[in-house]
Every structure is written in C-alpha cells, then in structure tokens.
C-alpha cells in the first residue's frame, strides 16, 4: 500500500486549506490514487522472469497522465530499485485515453484502474546465482499527478520480496495476477501489423490501415508540439494524415502510439518513423 501518499496528501490538504478558497479535499486526497504491487510468480530462479504489476486505482472522475501527458499535466513515472543480478527492460505503460477538454486542450490520460507491467529477470550469471536460497526485494516508486479540476501530485513507494530458487526449479504462478497481466495485454503495444503503412515526409505523418474503422495517433516524440498543435490526430476510416508544425520538421523523426480500431476491438502499436534524408 502507499506510504508517502497519505502524508503528502495531508500536507497538501493543510496547505490548500490555508487560503480563503479552501478545497474540501483533505480526506479525499488520501484516496485519490491507491497504488499496489504484485508479482505473477511466487519466486525467481536464475534465467527466469516474473512480471510485476503496478496497479493504480484512481478515484472516479479523476485522471493521471500517460508518458506524454498532452497539453497539460505531468507524466506518470515508475522507477525500479533492483538488487544486483536482476534486470528489467522497464515499465510498460498501457495505451491512454484521449481526454478532450471543453477549453480545446487534449490530454492523454488514464481513469479508473491502470495496470503498469514491469518484467523483471534474474540473470543466469554469477550475481544471479549468488542469490539462490535467499530472498530479493524489488522496489517500485510510482509518481503521478492526479487531476480533476484541481491537480494533486502523489507518489507511492512499494516493495515486494521474492524467494530465489535454484536454477530450473518449479515456480508457482499466481493466478489472480496472471489474470491481471492478461487483462493488461489488451492495452499494450504490439508491432505494427503487416499491411499497415506509416511514413513521415518531414511535414506530414501518414498512416494507412486498410481494414481499419478508425485511427488515433498519440504522439510521444518530439515533445515540443502539444497535441492541440497537431492537426488531425483522430479519424474514422483507414487513412490518417497528421500535420506537424514547422519546428518539428527539423527533428526528422517522430514516435508515438497508433491505435487501430477494428470491427471487434482496438489494437495499439508503437511507431517510430524518420523523414527521408535529403
């Protein structure tokens, strides 16, 4: 469970209520985001991986932000503390929702439950093998900004401890967490499917996905352009052309998440494209 969040929220609550326009959020601040950490395996052994699930449960009508928060807000961060002998490719964030505000700004954010997956591998190396027979502590620090009308920063420091078994030993999977991982997969990015084309001329980013009912682009790089600066991020149908402002044309490379809406479901894909060299 969270440790710092209640204290931080209490402090913020006190500070917020010191002005004439006090926001009645003191109790609420504490349960705006509840963070928890679980592992889909009960143990590690040299050469094996477990998937950690960082779960953020957000109070109704509030939201936290994606890697690119959009026109406002601050990205959610997940940092790992791992002992020697353990490695991770880092957190995998699910695809966000597009939240368009009444003032015309666009956020890329999450509401409700967010599941961030972090694969952790115990190396089959001298460092990894040295851990066999003991326990390892895996630490996660999550930092976020949760907003509705007002915004409240928050963080949680979580840890869990796993026993380390001998190489090749049978490790139990934890069914409820496995189910969470499976549920999270639906919003994780997969490689761009064959038949879907992406190209960047330096001025315009074009996608063509022949079977698609709709396409949405969630830009990540470059950061200088906010989504409200980019023309056409969402379309019905199989063709999307995103116009980038002039300062972006100098960066020559764009990266982001493409959502392809099919007749049954929506899939997500990381796309990184460079403009042709002159």
């Amino acid at each position: 469970m969270t440790r710092f969040a209640p204290l931080l929220a209490l402090l913020l609550g006190l500070l917020l209520s010191s002005g004439p326009q006090a926001f009645a959020q003191d109790e609420e601040a504490r349960d705006l985001v509840q963070a928890s950490l679980a592992s889909d395996h009960e143990a590690l052994s040299p050469g094996t991986t477990t998937t950690l699930v960082v779960r953020l449960q957000i109070k109704k009508d509030w939201h936290v932000y994606w890697l690119n928060p959009g026109d406002a807000g601050v990205p959610t961060k997940v940092e790992l503390t791992l002992p020697k002998g353990l490695v991770s490719a880092g957190p995998r964030f699910p695809a966000p929702e597009r939240l368009e505000h009444e003032d015309g700004f666009i956020d890329f954010s999450y509401e409700g439950q967010v599941l961030i997956l972090v694969p952790v591998t115990l190396e089959d190396s001298p460092e990894g093998q040295a851990l066999v027979g003991g326990k390892v502590s895996l630490g996660v620090k999550a930092t976020w900004l949760v907003c509705k009308e007002a915004c409240i920063p928050g963080q949680a420091e979580l840890a869990l401890s796993l026993p380390v078994l001998a190489k090749g030993a049978k490790r139990e999977a934890k069914a409820p967490v496995v189910d969470q991982v499976r549920a999270a997969q639906a919003r994780l990015a997969t490689p761009l499917p064959k038949g879907v084309s992406a190209s960047f001329s330096g001025l315009e980013l074009r996608f063509e996905a022949p079977e698609a009912k709709g396409l949405t682009w969630f830009p990540l790089v470059p950061e200088a352009a906010g989504p409200a600066d980019l023309k056409a991020l969402v379309v019905k149908g199989p063709r999307l052309a995103v116009a980038y402002p002039s300062e972006v044309r100098q960066s020559k490379r764009v990266k982001g998440l493409l959502a392809i809406k099919g007749s049954k479901s929506t899939t997500y894909h990381w796309v990184e494209v460079s403009s042709p060299t002159p």
């Binding site: 004439p20 601050v74 015309g104 700004f105 915004c151 023309k231 969402v234 379309v235 959502a259 809406k261």
Partner: protein, 209 residues
C-alpha cells in the same frame, strides 16, 4: 473496460472529426521564438491597467509567468521554494517580471482576493495580472502553470516553456531555463535553450465555444 473503451473510442472519434473540422478555421499558427510578443492590456490586482507595449518602452527584458495559486507546481516555486521571487529580485534592474492568471470565473485560482492573499503570503514583488477571459493566455499558447515566456528588449520572444528542468512537485531543477535565457540576453546572445515543454497543471480557461 472493453465496452467502455469502444464506446469512448466511438465518442472520441466522432468528437475528433468534428473538432478537426472546427479547428481548421480557428487555428492560428502557434507562437514561435523570434515572433513579436503579442500585445496585451490587463488589470493588476489594484484594478490598474498594465500594457505590454508601455512596459516594452523601458527597453528591458520582460518575463511572463503564467500563474494559478491553487496549482501544486506554482506552489512548488512560491511556497516550498522561492524560485520566482528570488529570480525577479536578483534581476530587478534589468528585467520586468509579470505574472498572468488566466483562470476563468468559477475555476481554480480565479479571483482578486485569492490572488491578493497569495501575493501577500508568498511575498511576490511583481504584479499579478488578471486575464479571466483567457484571451492573452490563448494568444501566447500558455498551457500550464507555470508557463514562462522571456521577451527580449526588442519585444521578441526569446524563450518559452518550463521554468526549469525538474517536473517533480517539490524540487526545483538544477537548470533554470529562465535565468539562463536572461543571462544570455544580458550578454547580447540568444538563449541556447529557447524552447522547452512546460510542466504543471493545465491553465483553467473558460470553455471554448
């Protein structure tokens, strides 16, 4: 979750297409470094008008700070640290510093009394200008609080973006982009970093019609 996602996606697609159609006619090109800083005349907390054109006659550097006393990232630099007032004081002979609050009526941060209280409590030594219809904020493309603009003595934008390089809620960044811009301009150079992405809470504009 799935049902919500597909409903939301459909709604957003419809919204997106409509918004797209509207946007094309309303969108002006975004402000760039090197552009003339958009003129404004805004009232300070005493009800007196402050005009950018008049301020620029002083031939000093002008710093604009988008402000909302309710935002935790504004508090970071005014309550938990005194980043803004320290910088404004340090360069007070060479720089005119103005805070602008574009919170609309009914939104967080709006109101003369609230801003007067914050100015007093946080010992802010420069004017806070009220832009409740958001016209000036939109003219500058101010998205977050704090959002900083450094205007050179010729009235052109020299820097726009974040105050510093740390987007956490408490710790000021090791690199203060506004100070770096001021120092560059004072030595007759253009700032090395002239644009960054601002961090903070969204400016609480009125709904767009």
């Amino acid at each position: 979750m799935r049902k919500f996602v597909s409903l939301a996606a459909v709604a957003l697609l419809a919204f997106g297409v409509t918004a797209l159609a509207g946007d094309e006619s309303k969108k002006k090109p975004a402000l760039k470094v090197g552009d003339a800083a958009p003129a404004f005349v805004l009232k300070n907390l005493e009800g007196k008008e402050v005009s950018l054109a008049k301020v620029l006659e002083q031939k000093k550097i002008v710093v604009l700070e988008w402000f909302n006393p309710g935002c935790p990232f504004v508090k970071k630099h005014h309550q938990h640290n005194s980043t803004m007032r320290d910088l404004a004081t340090k360069y007070k002979d060479k720089v005119v510093w103005l805070a602008i609050n574009s919170s609309a009526e009914g939104k967080q941060g709006f109101g003369v009394e609230l801003n007067k209280e914050s100015k007093k409590n946080w010992k802010i030594p420069y004017p806070i200008l009220l832009d409740s219809d958001g016209k000036t904020g939109h003219a500058y493309g101010a998205r977050r609080t704090p959002h900083m603009y450094v205007i050179n003595a010729e009235g052109k934008l020299a820097y726009m973006g974040a105050i510093d390089n740390d987007n956490s809620a408490r710790t000021p960044g090791k690199v203060n982009y506004v100070e770096a811009a001021i120092q560059a301009l004072l030595s007759g150079k253009a700032p090395e970093t002239d644009k960054t992405k601002s961090y903070g809470c969204g400016v609480k504009y009125a709904p767009r019609n």
